[in-house]
């Protein structure tokens, strides 16, 4: 292998880097590094001028490695990779060095040491770059079918959107009927629309189309394959059905927490949950004296999160009670009312105007509910008045949080997608990839991710459907070349990698008479777990080979330690 021809480009990032790191000095240093044929600096590497400068330099010096020392690869790597491609070299021959977030910005008071560190970081990058290899991204075809798991508002909305885009869509619902919570709630705040109407319009979208396939009383049983080529096995009341699919949407929603034992729930007649109340109201029954208790079972040790929708639901239902029964007395006992946004805050105002009583309690002084001659007695210590108040009620509504579905664990295992510690699913990136999972081709929407209002659920569902439609419409998926491979000469077929892989992407196969590990590129997510598990350095990850990382360590040793002496 001939010596690499590396170009190094140090970014001033205006003052962000240059005001701390002596950029010219780093450039001079870079020129002394092995394989570096040109080192230069730009005011803003990511600007038009910056980019074209790099491009010209690549061509003029016929570079085959490019190192940019600037900000973070997490935001800018794609941009510079693109420039490399435009300049005619493989984009995987690019290496990013972060001297802003990881240097100038965090050593603002030590320009000297920061400059030295920047040099070492650049040297490490250059030493890795020298060992980079061009990579070809693999393509694989996509089955033009989507599977939506969950027939609630999220699932329905997503499915309707997919069908509208003329995509074969299977909707898998475990209950006997479509709708989920939507069919148990009569009106949707803040506009007080009838949920029935919404449900019907969504259903009508599906009913007519031969693209829509609805599976009731069906459970997810098994999932194999990878983006574009999944095989989803479901159990449709007893009989097994295999669905080939290109994308999978998780819309399994959440469920209402049953506060058994709290505030006499289950023992004291009259203590109910929001869904019980929804049922009463839908039958036109509105109690005379109602007390809502908020945050029952949430925002407390063990379940720290705020369920986000309970306050608004209580406000909505308080107003509905007053609509049906203007004389009714309604009290909301809360820890603080979370009616975020204009519309919800408006509800809060109306509720207070119409005499809904708000009492604030603290976790430290729990509210007590007892039965006293025919009615319920709610004893609450009001934090604002700093005194104990007794409220009598016919109905005490316990506003409990949405919790993750018991079976979300199984779904997580089958789809190999992560959950947080409360059992809600974790998206790939909270800002950059909010409706996707790290696992390509699997998407998330609705309360399965986090308790959400109907509006939010629908936004997410539409977003997820749009995202899922991309590979299907494109007809192929491109797999980033950070996948692993096994060096057949070194592999001893000990199977460590097979055990270590979270994605069943590695198997021991026979290749010309020898047992060796084989990686399925499309299934490999490039985590590198197999690399660390391999005792013999046979397993390698593209773009992160042990030789590349080893070279970075050697470089640091050379430039930091040998400098010392």
């Amino acid at each position: 292998m001939s010596m690499a021809r590396t170009g190094v480009f140090i970014c001033h990032c205006g003052h962000n880097i240059a005001s701390i790191v002596a950029v010219e000095e780093v450039v001079k240093f870079a020129r002394t590094l092995p394989g570096v044929v040109v080192a230069d600096h730009n005011l803003y590497s990511c600007s038009e001028e910056g980019l074209s400068a790099i491009k010209t330099s690549i061509k003029q010096n016929n570079l085959d490695r490019v190192v940019v020392a600037a900000c973070t690869p997490r935001t800018h790597e794609p941009l510079f990779r693109k420039i490399c491609e435009e300049a005619g070299i493989n984009k995987y021959l690019f290496e990013f060095v972060n001297i802003r977030e990881h240097c100038s910005w965090i050593h603002a008071k030590e320009p000297g040491p920061a400059t030295e560190k920047a040099k070492r970081l650049v040297a490490m990058g250059v030493s890795k770059a020298a060992l980079l290899e061009p990579q070809a991204e693999t393509e694989s075809s996509v089955t033009p079918t989507a599977v939506v798991i969950g027939g609630g508002l999220a699932g329905l909305t997503a499915a309707a959107s997919l069908v509208a885009q003329d995509i074969d869509t299977h909707l898998v619902e475990q209950e006997g009927e479509i709708g989920g919570h939507l069919s148990r709630v009569s009106v949707l705040a803040p506009e007080f629309d009838e949920s029935r109407k919404l449900l019907d319009s969504l259903m009508s979208g599906l009913a007519g189309s031969e693209k829509a396939h609805i599976h009731l009383r069906s459970k997810l049983k098994d999932v194999h394959g990878f983006v574009g080529n999944f095989e989803v096995t479901i159990d449709e009341h007893g009989k097994e059905l295999k669905i080939p699919a290109g994308a999978i949407l998780v819309a399994t929603g959440a469920q209402e927490f049953q506060p058994v034992g709290e505030y006499g729930f289950g023992e004291l007649q009259g203590t109910i949950t929001q869904l019980d109340l929804e049922k009463m109201l839908s039958e036109g029954k509105a109690p005379n004296r109602t007390v809502f208790i908020q945050c029952v079972g949430s925002r407390q040790p063990g379940r720290e999160y705020c369920s986000r929708i309970c306050c608004n639901t209580s406000l909505k239902n308080a107003l509905r009670i007053l609509d049906l029964n203007p004389k009714a007395a309604v009290t909301i006992i809360h820890r603080d009312i979370m009616s975020y946004g204009t519309a919800w805050e408006e509800l809060y105002r109306r509720a207070s105007e119409r005499g809904v009583r708000f009492l604030r309690y603290a976790l430290a002084n729990p509210t007590k509910v007892t039965r006293k001659d025919g009615s319920l007695l709610v004893e609450v210590y009001d934090e604002t008045l700093a005194e104990r108040i007794n409220v009598e009620a016919d109905v005490v509504v316990l506003a409990t949080p949405m919790v993750s579905r018991e079976n979300s664990g199984d779904v997580s295992k089958m789809l190999k997608v992560p959950r947080d510690k409360y059992g809600f699913f974790l998206e790939a990136h909270v800002k950059l990839r909010p409706v996707e999972f790290a696992t390509d081709g699997v998407f998330i929407c609705g309360s399965a991710r986090w308790p959400s209002s109907a509006k939010e659920v629908m936004c997410q569902a539409l977003a997820a459907a749009a995202k899922a439609a991309i590979p299907i419409k494109r007809g192929k998926v491109i797999i980033e070349a950070i996948t692993a491979w096994a060096d057949p000469d070194k592999c001893a077929a000990c199977g460590n990698c097979v055990t270590a892989c979270p994605y069943e992407a590695v198997e021991i196969a026979t290749q010309d008479g020898k047992q060796i590990a084989k990686v399925n590129d499309a299934q490999c997510k490039g985590c590198g777990a197999c690399v660390a598990a391999c005792p013999n350095d046979a397993m390698q990850q593209r773009g992160f080979t042990t030789r590349q990382l080893g070279a970075m360590i050697d470089s640091l040793v050379k430039n930091a330690l040998e400098a010392e002496q």
């Binding site: 973070t72 690869p73 997490r74 972060n98 802003r100 977030e101 990881h102 240097c103 910005w105 965090i106 050593h107 603002a108 008071k109 030590e110 040491p113 920061a114 030295e116 560190k117 070492r120 970081l121 490490m124 190999k416 997608v417 992560p418 959950r419 947080d420 510690k421 974790l426 790939a428 990136h429 909270v430 790290a438 950070i482 270590a500 979270p502 994605y503 997510k525 490039g526 985590c527 590198g528 777990a529 690399v531 660390a532 598990a533 350095d537 990850q541 992160f544 042990t546 990382l549 080893g550 970075m552 360590i553 050697d554 640091l556 040793v557 930091a560 330690l561």
Partner: protein
Amino acid sequence: MTEFEPTILAFCCNWCSYAGADLAGVSRLQMPPNVHIVRVMCSASVKPEYAIKAISQGIDGVLVLGCHIGDCHYMTGNHRTAKRFPVVQKLLEDVGIDKTRLRLDWVSAAEGEKFQKVVTEFVEDVKRLGPNPLKEVRF
């Protein structure tokens, strides 16, 4: 005699700790300039061999940072990391190298402060230990 400035190598996973380090930067959280980050996709891909190689060659400390348990981008990657590195620490201890020179910790993408804290603490710890004795050893 100027104060001893340790050379420290850090491995950060792309999804959490590296992002956490970025956040620390964006938030201008100041910390000592001894730490050099190598980006990997997941802490599970960090071979103990790297730490051993670095420490054997005289690097004063090695930091391995991953996502919090349960938040791994690859589900259980960091579980393996959590299983692996305590063993390496023990082995270092067995041959007489202070295990403090190798630290494993978790930093999420939202924990700029945690990143700053871990880095600052670690640099302090290693300073307290003094230079890696293997620097002096001639084999």
